[in-house]
């Protein structure tokens, strides 16, 4: 990639961006998840043992056995189970200003999923806080259809 070449003490430097523009197939289970996101619904899948995995997976991580075909709508609200604060977001991250990465257990789910929380300030983040999704204006069937989560109330 071309960019401004700079010089410090006679040594040249320049930005270098390494990018792999992959597109991957998602398989039958995640296909249901992403297709539902396009309709602004969040789907989990029930394992044979009765737990609800969100995002859905093809196998139960506890036993390795295939999941059932019982897809369950969860959320849209949920609870932050753990988080960390990003003070200087990078260009491709979900929000242009400081935000929290959080594991969020949606209502009705037994597992937590990773997403951004737009809390404004780290002092508003805490484990156990209630959050709800903020949907992007135009949904296309990808995780970014949820622009981020925001504190409830």
């Amino acid at each position: 990639m071309k960019g401004p070449i700079t010089e410090v003490d006679g040594v040249l430097a320049a930005p270098h961006v390494l990018e792999y523009p992959y597109r991957r197939s998602v398989g039958p289970v995640l296909s249901r998840f992403f297709t539902a996101l396009r309709e602004r619904r969040i789907l989990g899948v029930r394992t044979a043992a009765g737990r609800v995995l969100v995002p859905p997976a093809e196998a139960d991580p506890d036993s390795g056995t295939a999941v059932t075909d019982d897809f369950v709508e969860v959320g849209p609200g949920g609870v932050v189970t753990t988080w960390s604060w990003v003070t200087r977001p990078r260009e491709k991250q979900p929000l242009p200003h400081p935000f929290g990465w959080a594991l969020i257990r949606l209502d009705g789910a037994d597992t937590a999923m990773l997403h951004a929380v737009d809390a404004g300030d780290a002092s508003r983040m805490r484990t156990g806080m209630r959050v709800r999704p903020r949907w992007r204006a135009e949904t296309v069937g990808e995780i970014g259809d949820i622009a981020c989560f925001e504190p409830e109330g």
Partner: protein, 167 residues
């Protein structure tokens, strides 16, 4: 055609990987890049094993000693290995198809990564003689893209035995 009111299920998603670096060239490679901006290719010779490295990194990886002697190299060389690239991808600026090549520049002891264009690609072969095609003088800059690519020249092939030591 299916029912237009029934949207198709999502089968794929984009999952780009992106790594943003600030690359610092170091002293030896900065001298090399300034040479490139003048249309010259500079290498460095190891004081111990006498091998000539291009681009120079300021040390010999084999002898673990600093390399200070600068050597001006020819912009002609020999293809030591190649692969034909026909699959388009974002971020590739060279027109497709092209040959991704290693070139042993005359006077160097390690091959140099570049591209061969401007000839039928079925002609590209190990031992083929090539020459750098530079951008116009006024566009020269301290960057690898000052050499647009390499093109074949009308010289006899170099036999593999003469390249083997540099591979």
């Amino acid at each position: 055609m299916g029912d237009a009111s029934e949207p198709k299920p999502v089968k794929t998603i984009k999952t780009p990987m992106r790594l943003e670096y600030q690359y610092t060239a170091g002293e030896a490679t900065s001298r090399y890049l300034r040479g490139i901006a003048q249309g010259r290719i500079l290498g460095q010779r190891c004081p111990s094993c006498k091998k000539v490295y291009v681009p120079p990194r300021g040390s010999c990886p084999r002898c673990a000693v600093a390399t200070t002697e600068e050597v001006q190299l020819s912009d002609k060389g020999t293809v030591t290995t190649f692969a034909i690239v026909r699959v388009p991808s974002e971020n590739i600026s060279v027109p497709l198809p092209f040959a991704s090549v290693h070139i042993l520049l005359d006077g160097a002891d390690i091959p140099f990564f570049s591209v061969v264009q401007g000839c039928p690609l079925e002609r590209v072969r190990i031992g083929m003689r090539v020459r750098a095609e530079w951008v116009p003088r006024e566009e020269l800059a301290p960057t690898a893209t000052s050499i647009r690519w390499f093109v074949p020249i009308d010289e006899p092939d170099v036999p593999f035995e003469k390249l083997e030591a540099a591979l």
